[in-house]
């Protein structure tokens, strides 16, 4: 599968309070959360992004709280993929678990600029910077994680396998 969109670029250590401030956590409704996505780091994000756009960030994206509201808000906002140099641990799990596509790629994280048009090929984990005419290769996922991604999230994966202890 391929997705294409405009890059919204952020720095290192974008924390979960920036992605979705705690003042909105009295709900878990995805649409409502999406309406406040990135509000404290980029108040124009909600107005300016289009479905399928891509978030590109630096190191440790999603650090801070365990709130699944963060990847839920991003996914419900229509973002097709988050590319970062690295992801914070719980955000990484949560994104995989809810089926928000993420990729880790140092080069893409450094070189992609705000507003560039980016295409991502999830089969090959290749990232194409169409504005700069460059190609970057993201880290492939471990096999077990790939299975969850393929099932489009942990819940589907569990339903399908009803927990066979098949992790090597």
């Amino acid at each position: 599968m391929k997705v294409k969109g405009k890059a919204f670029k952020y720095s290192d250590n974008v924390d979960t309070d920036l992605i979705i401030p705690a003042r909105y956590l009295n709900t878990s409704d995805p649409e409502e959360l999406a309406g406040h996505c990135m509000e404290d780091i980029d108040p124009t994000f909600v107005k300016e992004h289009n479905p399928k756009d891509i978030i590109v960030a630096g190191k440790n994206f999603g650090c801070g709280s365990s709130r699944e509201h963060a990847p839920i808000a991003i996914k419900a906002a229509g973002i097709s993929c988050v590319i970062a140099w690295t992801f914070a641990r719980i955000f990484y799990r949560n994104a995989i678990n809810i089926g928000l596509p993420i990729l880790e790629c140092e080069e893409a994280s450094k070189k992609i600029e705000y507003g560039s048009v980016i295409e991502v090929d999830f089969e090959t984990n290749d990232i194409f910077d169409l504005t700069k005419n460059q190609k970057y290769s993201a880290q492939p996922f471990p096999e077990f994680i790939q299975k969850i991604i393929k099932a489009e999230g942990l819940i589907n994966y569990i339903r399908e396998s009803m927990v066979k202890t098949e992790i090597k």
């Binding site: 290192d12 250590n13 924390d15 309070d17 920036l18 401030p21 705690a22 003042r23 956590l25 009295n26 709900t27 878990s28 404290d40 780091i41 190191k59 440790n60 650090c63 801070g64 709280s65 365990s66 709130r67 699944e68 509201h69 839920i72 690295t86 914070a88 641990r89 719980i90 799990r93 949560n94 678990n97 809810i98 471990p142 077990f144 994680i145 999230g153 942990l154 819940i155 569990i158 339903r159 927990v163 202890t165 992790i167 090597k168």
Partner: protein, 421 residues
């Protein structure tokens, strides 16, 4: 090659002879935790799995603490949904307003976590229980849903960083100063995906409350967990609070650590993390005059008994500065009551502070002390991210209860050593 303490616990949980760093395992969990923010999503996901019962009614713990007592209709609806789930599934450990407290202070107090256990919690500060020599880590709501259905969770076995703690700390140095100093040293991504394993002779000078504070903020360095060896103090604590069976794990002599750090507590200064990162830690002597509007003493980091006692020691027979709002929140009903019995609450009120029922409240800008634009707070909580306590142009300075109480009196960030009683 030997295993770290964390790896040994994980190997046991997964029923494996040994594990190594980077390995993906599936492990049984002894305790699973959710709160009023993360549980509603977990319930929705649990229902999608299509099982009508949870794997074990006694191993799930739910504590509504963030927006409780409920601050608005939406948060009340979330708690209603939780209550319904708890009732229909027969979950044993649910703590309603009146018996609740901030989850990470409540669970050890109620004896729900003991050494050697594997604990997952849909809250990032679940790492707090590492103070008891347990493996405990934050996960998301979907992980919690899967855990409630299956009793299991997947982990990537972490490598570890070893922190050797030496030296006797001076009078006003608390666990908070130790952990803020460490995060300043290694950075907010200094321990990403790794275990922080603490050891050394200095541990003898760290109380259980200090250790809870330190383990609590391991996640602020990106760690998967923070963990302390089980010693006399741990066992005294556990025996006073729990009847659960525990297991003591120790790292192998030849365990491999990615890095080593030595922390000499005898030279540690009261430490403050400036906005907007817990990694911006500075010794108090390096901080110029910073006027403040609010002081918060509480949270899963510093709402424990010793924190209350330290604050009272400094506030005794003093008045908080005019124009400074001081909010003190004992983290559990038990601590609240004890503080009342010891006369601490009276000290706080006479000093001009307000005392609240247990809640996360201001720690996450939820309620009970939200900051306006341009306001500054000294807070004993664990995060000073942009907008964490309110307006995105407000500022949070993280510090120990000693620094927070001293600052309450002067109205500017103040070294507690300057306070003479």
């Amino acid at each position: 090659m030997g295993m770290t303490m964390t790896q040994k616990i994980l190997a046991a949980g997964a029923g494996l002879e040994s594990v190594k760093s980077g390995q993906l395992i599936q492990s049984d969990c002894d305790v699973m935790l959710g709160n009023d923010i993360t549980t509603p999503i977990a319930i929705k996901e649990f229902e999608k799995i299509g099982r009508d019962h949870v794997f074990d009614k006694s191993k799930i713990v739910i504590v509504p603490d963030h927006f409780t007592p409920n601050k608005d209709i939406k948060s009340a609806e979330q708690c209603r949904m939780i209550r319904e789930f708890v009732r229909t599934k027969g979950i044993k450990n649910y703590f309603e307003v009146g018996e609740m407290g901030i989850e990470h202070v409540l669970l050890p107090e109620k004896g729900l976590v003991v050494p050697g256990e594997i604990v997952i919690g849909a809250d990032s500060h679940t790492c707090t229980y590492g103070a008891l020599g347990a493996f405990s880590t934050g996960i998301g709501s979907t992980d919690l849903a899967a855990g409630m259905a299956t009793g299991k969770c997947w982990f990537k076995v972490p490598g570890a960083i070893k922190f050797v703690i030496d030296g006797r700390p001076s009078n006003f140095i608390m666990g908070k100063d130790v952990i803020l100093h460490i995060i300043g040293l290694i950075g907010v991504d200094g321990s990403v995906n790794k275990a922080m394993e603490f050891c050394g002779e200095g541990l003898a000078f760290l109380s259980m409350d200090d250790r809870f504070t330190i383990a609590n903020m391991a996640v602020e360095a990106g760690a998967k967990n923070g963990i302390f060896p089980v010693d006399e103090k741990t066992l005294t604590y556990v025996e006073a609070h729990s009847t659960k069976k525990y297991r003591i794990f120790e790292p192998d002599g030849d365990a491999e650590y990615d890095k080593h750090f030595r922390i000499d507590m005898s030279v540690l200064r009261p430490t403050v993390a400036l906005p907007h990162s817990p990694g911006n830690a500075q010794p108090i002597d390096a901080i110029e005059d910073i006027n403040i509007h609010q002081v918060v003493i509480g949270s899963c980091t510093n709402g424990r008994m010793e924190d209350m006692r330290m604050a009272a020691r400094i506030l005794k027979r003093k008045r908080v500065a005019k124009g400074v709002r001081v909010i003190i929140i004992p983290a559990t009903q038990g601590i609240y009551l004890k503080a009342l019995e010891e006369g601490l609450i009276e000290t706080f009120i006479k000093a001009g502070a307000v005392v609240s029922t247990p809640t996360c409240g201001p720690c996450l800008g939820g309620h009970m002390g939200v900051l306006a634009k341009g306001e500054r707070a000294v807070s004993t909580t664990n995060r000073n991210f942009v907008g964490r306590m309110g307006h995105r142009e407000s500022e949070i300075y993280l510090a120990s209860p000693a620094v927070a109480a001293a600052s309450a009196i002067t109205g500017r960030i103040t070294n507690p050593e300057e306070m003479t009683n």
